[in-house]
Symmetry: C2
Subunit: 247 residues, 2 copies
Amino acid sequence: MTATIELTSPKAAHACGRQPGENYCDSCKVRSLAVCAALGPDELPELDDIVHHTRADGKTTFIHQGETAESVFSVTEGVVRLYKLLSDGRRQIIGFAMPGDFLGLALHNRYGFSADAVDDVALCRFDRRDFDNLVTAKPHFLRRLHEFATHELVIAQEQMTLIGRRSAEERVAAFLVAMRERWARIKGPSVTIQLPMQRIDMADYLGLTIETVSRTLTKLARDGVILIVPEAVRVLDEKKLLSIARA
Amino acid sequence: MTATIELTSPKAAHACGRQPGENYCDSCKVRSLAVCAALGPDELPELDDIVHHTRADGKTTFIHQGETAESVFSVTEGVVRLYKLLSDGRRQIIGFAMPGDFLGLALHNRYGFSADAVDDVALCRFDRRDFDNLVTAKPHFLRRLHEFATHELVIAQEQMTLIGRRSAEERVAAFLVAMRERWARIKGPSVTIQLPMQRIDMADYLGLTIETVSRTLTKLARDGVILIVPEAVRVLDEKKLLSIARA
DNA sequence: CGGCGTCCTTGTTTTGGATCAAACGCTGGT
DNA sequence: ACCAGCGTTTGATCCAAAACAAGGACGCCG
């Protein structure tokens, strides 16, 4: 079970088969537009690479906390986990990035977290300097970016509240509801909530252990709130799930 | 013990005695510059009010979670707590704002948190629309704002890690170190860390209870790391404190 | 000066979730 | 088909922090 890391050379052909002269593959364009709606697609920075990663053996980490921030990424396929590691190995996942999400937008010199693939992931990589220049040149774009950052901040503050003040069951329920809403924006609504990440990822995101996450899911299933299926859960009692999840 | 709420009328004289025609009192100008360094002081938006609050009976809440965001504030004196409340009364303090800090910069329509005074507080209030207009007109200003927001995001992610993955002692030590660094920027370095907030505020910030905070401080004092004094702690063993606080 | 209301500390008990331990069920390889 | 390895679930025990409880130590006000 080895990692698949395929890094196309700068300005290379896109995953979709387009050639370097054409700036965007449809996937990238569509996803980028989610954030860059204030600009026309032709005003986006030039794409550097398309990067594909598969979760496997830890070698797929493409953002390393503390390293110089040289790229901005946009997720087009799959799920990415963003995390901070303590020196003794404890890990806090600070978020999951899904198709349409950007990574490394902070305009800081160094990354504040690490990121790797949860499943099979495709990313568009942009040079951070191009991004910087674009930001300087296009106030609309900067404004969009700022809105994006403040939205992230709101999410982070909600997560703080979740971890700091809510029980294991509330955390898990809130996580399920949040995942359902995120998938709904990407793929449309569904009673099946895809959970491509492992239990340990949920645990490290929610400030719990793997056993507690497992037990809590089992309890929710026993209570008839959800049905546990591989890589997902099916929502059986939406009202109850929401009532546990809501503050 | 009643609340002191003094709200000068729009464009009224400043706390320092300046008249409406003069846009800024020194305090505001100095503090605003901390964030708006990319602009000259004359390019700042016009000040609406100077607001003074004293922590007392809960009536001093000047930002209410969920309400329409009509103002942006800048703290010039004292400490403000920002928090989220759950419906059953559980509270998570998401941050403390100190002199030089801005509140409500998100450019969202509604506030995502509440804010009130920890001690005697003075704030400059700006109309959010003026702020918006300025942001639209001056890209430098927006860029500064964006850097500010992403810095907040980094802090929030660190706090998530603190609350999600670290022990009570580590949380308290990290809090003390962070407070010392913040005061150092405002007043210069000192072995005495001012703690104007109550134990319950620290507890709600760190995801602990008041008793655990108290016990942990006592333990740190017993171990010769700090000396507890009213409204503050004195650092006796900096190296040890840092080694507990650092990840 | 005395009583009262806060806030803080300290002691005791309880508990939610962590930790330790073991078995289960896939999946992939031989 | 069998086995090995991993992720997950379940069970038993432990423990850090919560919850409960009771004293102090101020500061304020009558």
